[in-house]
Symmetry: C2
Subunit: 394 residues, 2 copies
């Protein structure tokens, strides 16, 4: 019973902590952009201090004449994949044991965002007269909806919440939570498992995931969002080839500089765990898990004190990687405004907190998503502002 | 009368050198992949030796904690553009004087490929019930056609050769040649100028281009194709915003590592020309122009000798950058098989040369496109193989 993708399992079905009604009057902080705490995105800034600490081990030097070709290995299905990155991806999965990679194809993308577009392309049929439906259980990742709607593809279309999908026709389902895969029909549904957050700092590693098409991202694994590196682990070579074709016609491959740097940093994480010498510093996933645990403890304390919001009770499970049970440390807090507050996003904005409103994720306006991955200063300020809601109430 | 985009002005309308008929029998080189010279892509490998020579000036060092956020400057229309790259792009255009950039918006993409997709998205209307037509004068860049056809967008569709387009409805035209912009109607047509090859190693810089939407790519400017960095110079802020939106939903920005490296290398090119000290080595554009000139001289000599193929006579113009007149050194040779040879691509393949066939560019099968940007060894081998056609003929 763990939660991936940071989207928490459906908050509407969770136990929410009781909270008193409030009336919004005279917001304490005005909606001025220089005062707003921008926590609507998931930029994982909280890991920066770790990588500063590890700086001497992680630097990459790229000479002027290196990586000039857009190809890497013409014999690979993914011709533009640097072998160094392919090896590092195999190594990190072998360390964490979160995904079965043997006899599968690694397809690198410009972030996992490009890869879910590529996967939709690969799993739809160019012969079909009707676009295939894409569904995902709410609260789904808002960029699935934004991506499908903006691009107006003739190959696929958005069909909403997987929980309410009842059409007797083929569909693609984006599965983001282990405990909530609303699989309608094995014969008609093609599943894409978005495992962005299936790393031990966020959630217990309960099993060695082995699905047809799994997505991971460097951004959430180590916090290097600026590199725009994601990877898909794909079983069927024809699907893999179609994904590569999509990436070729969209961007002719993926930045080599980002690939070599991702290879280096994933390698440093593996080295740290596999080193036989004395432990020089805390290992990355342990560091990340401790930091997120501390943040969640403080967050729950403040939410409990402020009596305006509730957050879902986290699930707990035994983690095969850390060899202990722990509660999920979601990358995002799904907060719910209680009582008379109808629009949680607007209420938070009046407190100076920019969150992403629930409606973008297919849930009600009483919900909003707040990033838990901000800098330490931003996180401290978030807690102060959430407490302002209590002062306002009293 | 210069040619950009390497696609040469329409070969069907050019003067072709006379060539005798040949009969293909018993090809000298079999179609075995390890013997095939792959010259169907435009990977600019010929510039690698220059960047090896400049290696000590061009290295970038990226520490583990740098560039972790996918944003750069929230106040910029292009939030993910690194200011260092924006400055370098302004500087290189100011040096070469090939594009008017003042009061325009710089939008960075994962190669110019992502940018022409973004431009199509931005120039089409999400309200329109019918997709807008995209045209380009043949021989157009084959990836325009591949990109439009593969993705099956509901926003735009391929409408073929601009020269034969006669519909009285809105369209987007990809303009790749200065001497052949088949502009149908100023009121209905939206132009995208693809200036991939408007740099002084390829073509005389005849004017300071000043259009609504111009595309450039690091790949062809300096030869760093592996970085996947392109930039658009956009006049209208609403178009710029829509392009950024496209890139956000497609890849959430562009690799920071590639951006900082592109900034460094463009800076080194500018430094070299603007240095007041003694000239330490040949400047990049001079080096590239000399190399391409030498290749074209040898190529024409071989084509003349082999009597099987023809190539178009290049145009010549005064270059404001180099302060001299010179003939265009196209990045690709458009070769035409003469006499009884109907399929130039297959004929070349039988000689062990993989070229891209004319039909992919909207011209006849008697044409094929061969990259002039290969390594020195590959180029020498190309000439040897072209001469084989003569031996076969004799």
């Amino acid at each position: 019973m763990v939660t991936l993708q940071g989207e928490a399992s459906d908050p509407a079905n969770q136990n929410w902590l009781p909270c008193a009604n409030v009336t919004i009057t005279n917001p304490l902080i005005t909606d001025s952009s220089n005062l707003i705490l921008r926590l609507e995105m998931g930029d994982p800034k909280l890991f920066v201090p770790y990588w500063k600490m590890m700086s001497d081990k992680c630097s990459v030097v790229i000479e002027g004449w290196k990586f000039m070709s857009h190809e890497s290995d013409a014999s690979n299905v993914c011709q533009y994949l640097l072998p160094e990155l392919g090896d590092a991806i195999k190594r990190i999965h072998s360390l964490v044991h979160n995904a079965a990679i043997q006899d599968k194809h690694i397809i690198v993308g410009t972030g996992s965002t490009q890869l879910f577009h590529a996967a939709w392309f690969a799993l739809s049929s160019s012969d079909s007269v009707r676009p295939i439906n894409i569904v995902s259980a709410a609260p789904f990742y808002s960029l699935y909806l934004d991506g499908v709607k903006a691009l107006r593809s003739g190959l696929y279309q958005w069909a909403g919440d997987a929980a309410t999908y009842d059409k007797d026709e083929p569909y693609i389902e984006m599965v983001t939570s282990q405990n909530n895969p609303v699989v309608r029909s094995a014969s008609q549904g093609k599943l894409i498992h978005d495992f962005a957050y299936y790393w031990p700092q966020y959630t217990p590693i309960t099993h060695h995931a082995d699905h047809d098409l799994m997505l991971f991202t460097f951004s959430k694994c180590t916090g290097h969002a600026g590199s725009r590196i994601g990877w898909a682990i794909v079983k069927d070579i024809e699907v893999a080839k179609k994904m590569v074709h999509f990436i070729q016609v969209s961007t002719i491959g993926v930045s080599k500089e980002s690939q070599i740097r991702a290879a280096k940093i994933l390698g440093v994480v593996c080295d740290s765990y596999q080193s036989l010498g004395p432990k020089e510093s805390e290992h990355f996933f342990d560091y990340g898990k401790r930091l997120l645990r501390e943040r969640w403890d403080r967050m729950r304390q403040v939410i409990g004190q402020c009596e305006v919001f509730t957050v879902a009770k986290p699930s707990s499970a035994y983690c095969n990687f850390t060899k202990e049970s722990f509660e999920t440390n979601s990358a995002f807090a799904w907060v719910k405004c209680e009582g008379g507050i109808e629009d949680c996003g607007t209420y938070l904005k009046n407190l100076g907190i920019l969150a992403r409103p629930g409606r973008l994720f297919g849930v009600g306006p009483e919900f909003a998503r707040i990033s838990m991955l901000s800098t330490n200063d931003e996180f401290d300020e978030l807690l102060t502002r959430l407490l302002n809601a209590r002062r306002e109430y009293n």
